[in-house]
Subunit: 479 residues, 2 copies
């Protein structure tokens, strides 16, 4: 093999790194062994993960959400090394793969935001707020003062503080994906969970700041807490208000200069990325920014890009037609007319969203489950983690399915791990306590998808009986 | 700022690197300074580059190809540091940005392959072959035995050998983009250039191998050359033959299990990535693999995914309608029906293709142009580099515009740099000779877009006169 194989990107690298690359190329004949995988290898990883993910997503046929298949696939691939098959190991820690996975979850939450609606979210705002507050306070209190001291006796108070904090924040990616996979993103329950998850993120940010400060310097000022809160509120509020004011004007402007579909895509995609960046800058999760971007870019402001005069003309023509003809053509027209920004983003989502969930699954180290004492303690703490969120679901107002809201808040994903990692690095959490949190994260990540699915189906069936008409099974929107 | 800002990807990183990350997070309050830019920063870079690229691509209004705007934008951004503005500097060498740029050019060549057609390519096969062979041999001979010794006297024969080799291989990305931007991808000239560029790549591979071997070990066996040639021919031939045989069968299979648009996208995208990987593995450029993938996945095999029964039904309904109605609806239906794989790939292209051209521009160091002796020598060698390819265009058979073919072969891009870099690392090329090659690459990269544009427009105007009917100006396909 020759260095030529790396040509298209060498153009960029050469200016800075030619002398590093070339000796390696000479030594190995051009392959990239010893200095990380080449770009070709990463292309191959992406292709294999996407094909496998799409294949396991066929479990949608059996009414399961695709995300469950992707998570389990990830767990299997990530632990194949236990069987001596190491090929997938470097994927877990490769910077480029981790970036693409992050890009994937940013795109997913952007999509979810696009499919949500500020006015609708506002209606459930109080419910979301209550669910978020209870869902943060209860697990925190239970973890810090009850199950921590009880199941993991002998640790410092600070350790319990971190354990409690690790049980608070919801990782909304998984829940959003389940609701989306099953076409239930427009339900009140979904809106409450999404809103609560955003508020959760702000609360989690504050708790992390306070707990870290207490552990590090023994105290924290009310001013510091207020400043964090102010930044977060300003970001969310500012983005939504400014966005609402600017988006129609921008949409109008760009539809006037008739810059086409490419411009439409670029503006939408860039807005998501910029808000993800800003969210990260002020300490929120990038996905909160991406979700906000989706809320702002209500498709309506972009629809004018699509030359409404054409579909308007067709619609007028249709009016004078026999009913049968009109109906059969109406749906075609509908599809044509509604090709808005969400549809433009969809293919990019196909390329990257599954990578996030597969990589999330791959980060699960199942050997953690082989240690019985840790496993038992973790089961107990998982129960508390779940009960805390189910109780939070209970305070959701209105005629919603409270259990559904509660289970929607259960996934902790990476959030819990970050708390535990910081606790460990500050020297307050023992390796055992850390392992316990890892197992809790595994359970709270893998349990909700099948449970939410079962509940959503039961709800659909019940609704069908109440209407005494057979309701269609929830269909997937991810195809 | 708090570590929480990095939460969604830490989930993946933590397992392997928690102890590296966390102290840094503590020290800096969670930001990622000192260990490369955070993901949020990369999101911001992407957003800014895409918005700027889309804005400069408005030069399409003035009949210029978008790629020219993107390249010049890149040159400007990449040299802002000369004015003391360093913000864009880290973009040039960031691994993730370079990967995304590479992904962009892979997607572009995949698109170009999708829009090309094996049968059509075969028709111009002989022309492509002749253009490629002359376009490799002539610049190589002129560089090694004529302008090298003449303009850069006093160097070793091996240095001239590398200079000649650096002048051979065409970097087809830029030409393909210009033809595509101006809607001329289906012209005979475009087909000849694309075919020749693929053959060029194989020839360049052989020259690099032979020249490197001569310099390193003093000789090279015919067997080694034959083996390289065999691998390349096997890859291209094998992929096309196997692909032609398998694609209809796979398309049929997957349309039967009715796995939807997501599966269609995944299969197409993954095929491009896998062939890009395989091409790199055997030492060809990844873009050659991606182009081959596009050729294989003739959209026809994928159209069956699109539920033809629906459009078929609509078409039948349309038949019985008054002419006026039928016509106005026919076009809507057409658009609906032809949403094939190329359209699914388009949004992903919007997100990444401009990054490649902007980063290509950014790699241009304009200070190289400030050294007058080097500049003069480079101008002379550029002239030879261009003349060699124009002569190659001359041997293209048929009634094609030979100058257009010739200019289409001119861009050297990163390819020339790789040869020069290897020459330098082997100790045979002086820093001056290397700088000369850098300048030649700049000229051959930046000159062809405006010249190709002017020639394509002149040709279109001429065709219009010949038909004594006003032909539409070439329209952009990139919107």
């Amino acid at each position: 093999m020759f260095t030529q194989s790396k040509r298209p990107y060498l153009w960029g690298i050469i200016a800075a790194a030619s002398l590093i690359l070339v000796p390696a190329a000479q030594a190995s004949g051009g392959a990239t062994e010893g200095e990380g995988p080449g770009m070709g290898t990463i292309f191959l990883w992406i292709a294999i993960l996407l094909i496998l993910a799409k294949t396991v997503s066929l479990i949608e046929r059996f009414g399961q959400p695709a995300v469950l298949g992707e998570l389990v696939l990830g767990v299997v691939l990530g632990n194949l090394a236990l069987l001596g098959f190491n090929w997938f190991e470097p994927v877990k820690t490769n910077d480029i793969m981790l970036f693409l996975a992050e890009l994937g979850v940013v795109i997913l939450l952007f999509q979810v935001g696009l499919e949500s609606n500020i006015a609708e979210m506002r209606k459930v705002g109080l419910s979301s707020f209550l669910v978020a507050v209870v869902g943060v306070i209860l697990p925190f209190a239970l973890g810090t003062w009850v199950v921590g001291p009880w199941l993991l006796p002998g640790l410092s108070f600070n350790a319990y503080l971190f354990l409690g904090a690790a049980l608070t924040a919801t990782s909304v990616g998984i829940t959003a994906r389940v609701f989306r996979d099953l076409g239930a993103l427009n339900s009140d329950e979904a809106k409450i969970v999404l809103g609560a998850a955003v508020i959760d993120d702000v609360l989690g940010l504050i708790i992390l700041a306070v707990v870290s400060a207490i552990v590090s310097i023994g105290s924290v000022s009310g001013l510091q807490v207020a400043w964090i809160l102010a930044k977060a509120v300003l970001f969310l509020g500012g983005a939504i208000v400014l966005g609402q004011l600017l988006a129609p004007w921008l949409g109008e402007l760009f539809s006037k200069i008739n810059a086409g579909i490419g411009m439409k895509f670029t503006l939408a995609f860039s807005t998501a990325l910029i808000l993800a960046f800003l969210a990260e800058e002020i300490g929120l999760a990038p996905i909160v920014g991406a979700f906000t971007a989706g809320l702002i870019l209500d498709p309506v402001h972009f629809r004018s890009f699509y030359r409404p005069e054409i579909t308007h003309h067709l619609r007028k023509t249709l009016k004078n037609m026999p009913d049968e003809v009109r109906q059969s053509l109406e749906s075609t027209l509908e599809a044509h007319e509604h090709q808005h920004v969400a549809e433009l983003i969809e293919p990019v989502a196909y390329a990257f969203v599954p990578l996030f969930f597969v990589l999330t699954g791959m980060a699960v180290d199942i050997t953690t489950l082989f240690n019985l004492p840790i496993l038992l303690v973790a089961v107990g703490i998982t129960a508390v983690a779940i009960i805390g969120k189910l109780a939070a679901g209970w305070v959701a107002g209105g005629k919603v399915n409270k259990m559904l809201v509660g289970w929607g808040m259960v996934p902790r994903g990476e959030v819990g791990l970050i708390f535990a990692t910081i606790g460990r690095s500050l020297g307050v959490m023992t390796p055992e306590a850390f392992s316990v949190v890892v197992v809790v994260v595994i359970f709270t990540t893998l349990l909700p998808p099948p449970i939410l699915t079962a509940m959503l189906k039961k709800a659909a069936a019940k609704a069908a009986v109440e209407q005494t008409a057979p309701a269609p099974a929830p269909t997937s929107v991810s195809e």
